[in-house]
Subunit: 332 residues, 2 copies
Amino acid sequence: MKKRITMKEIARLANVSQATVSRVINGNPDVNEELAARVLKVIEEVGYVPNQTAQTLKRNQSKLIGVSVSEMYNPYFVELVDHLEDKARKLGYNIILHNSKHNPILEWENIQNFLTRQIDGCIIVPTGSYNLERLSKLPIPVVSITQTVSSLDSVAIDHMKAGKLAAASFIKAGHTSFAYIGKSDDEKYLGFASVLYEHQLPVSDVRVFELEQTSNDNFLVRQGIERHFRQFETFPFTCVFTENDIVALECIKLIEERGLKVPEDISVIGFDDTYLSKIMGISSIHQPIEDMVSTSLELLINRIEEKLSPDIVSIQLEPTLMTRKSSNHRRI
Amino acid sequence: MKKRITMKEIARLANVSQATVSRVINGNPDVNEELAARVLKVIEEVGYVPNQTAQTLKRNQSKLIGVSVSEMYNPYFVELVDHLEDKARKLGYNIILHNSKHNPILEWENIQNFLTRQIDGCIIVPTGSYNLERLSKLPIPVVSITQTVSSLDSVAIDHMKAGKLAAASFIKAGHTSFAYIGKSDDEKYLGFASVLYEHQLPVSDVRVFELEQTSNDNFLVRQGIERHFRQFETFPFTCVFTENDIVALECIKLIEERGLKVPEDISVIGFDDTYLSKIMGISSIHQPIEDMVSTSLELLINRIEEKLSPDIVSIQLEPTLMTRKSSNHRRI
DNA sequence: TTACTTTCAGAATACGTATTCTCAATTTAT
DNA sequence: ATAAATTGAGAATACGTATTCTGAAAGTAA
């Protein structure tokens, strides 16, 4: 490992003290102009860059944000990471990335690792509720993104509203028998069901198919859906709302493999509005991902700079339904 | 910002010197067993974690690897990042991620930022040749992944071979008129053309369509292809080889929108074998991505630990052709 | 002139850790 | 028993930076 150039070396070359170099770099006005010029010239010449590690130690702030996502398979989370990296950088922060793979134990290990690196704060897509308690007790601010949780600052869409949008759209198109693929305790489903209830439609008849969420790997998702679909000779529903776009995509493929048409026989609405749904013409609930990222970073940085009251902040953004081919069909 | 617990604090609580605590943590044998036990007990109790920042400063190694990718849109690069994160962590390293967005200026800024963070080494998907010269002069090891470049250690597939595989497959299926969508100076194309030449097929008749590569955003890719396709009343080719799966996907969609069938009228082979091609049944050149990641990390870490001779290392792995529906058709 | 600010910049210190140096206590060799 | 070697652990230092402390030089007010 070659030796890096240090401030001390700059000081020697410019014939000033190391403190003066520091002052020049940090724009301290208490330094004579020509001296400053001399120092800057040397810095330029040798291509000196300050050592962020030493700064971190001294200032007790690393300008590092830990980002933990539950998976990278679903392109939705990739977009999230991509925007986080971009916006954080523009705000003077770097991100350090971990994939918890829906595994709470790995998630917690990753958080420990974050702490070791002296991150200033953390943005997390929680794997579940397993670590929430501990997360809220961390010595650094943590923001939950994508999921609203009571013990942490959160930024997410209104999932209830999202479910309502899907249900309302199906009802308006004349559907009367429904299916939902996803976790039944998810707010999306509560919203979905609540609208059916309001319209006096039989909520208990809704087919709810749960997938064990180890990963959104297409093949596993396909298998999971297939296992449920296999029980039906003919489907007792005319529309399906799914918890994400990968599920929607595989669902549509399975439906079509049965010789049925989407949307003529069965309509499908997905979730996240990733490019998968755009490419494939799948209707999907859109999440304002850039807004979510900006908002959560703002919130986190305000926390880091201790500009906020200690009350937990929960921000909900508006979802919208993007109607595309997969649900663009009116029944009867 | 709450105060973190330091080694000194542990020392005070355990009634030993700070040096002893350090020795216990680092497994130095020169420490009495019961003393060590006492120290470990205190560490356990208060949940002390060592400060990696201070270690970095002291040891002059950060256990950080910079990862710069040229984009996150193509899922291929996401897989790369995901595996890099995973494997690096298992080897005791963390990654710090940057997306250069095919922009050499941003790429160089990111590299500077990496240096600031005292990364031990860097794995890069170069945006082009613009920064290669400077990259090779960095005070830390750099490995180019995905692309073989002469000035850096590289790990990539044999792109020439990949192009040959595609061409051979088309020829075997009876095709005699070809198209290629991608950069014409790419080795994939050279390999592709070389096989045609060997079979006395008219290389100069191959339709080469270049896309300006600002991003692999589906919409932009679609527009780019469309602009080229628009010039033809009927296509003067029966098969298309594309530089990646996104291009292949959009290409197929455009062909089908013209009322033509894939593969019956036109066969398509993509590149990268991402899940896009798996889902859509697109034939594609498979890259052994896990191997590439393992190999490049191994190489990088060996460099970091200065275990290698200074000669530039260039590792080429074998591509394979995954034949799926989009090229599974024999002409005549 | 003398006393009092103000400006500038060097010396010294601290951040948390690893490590070298040092020396007391103990063991081994003679 | 005495000297020499070994062991164990505290004190001190260094990593690169930011900052406080300090004091010299220069300027201002009387």
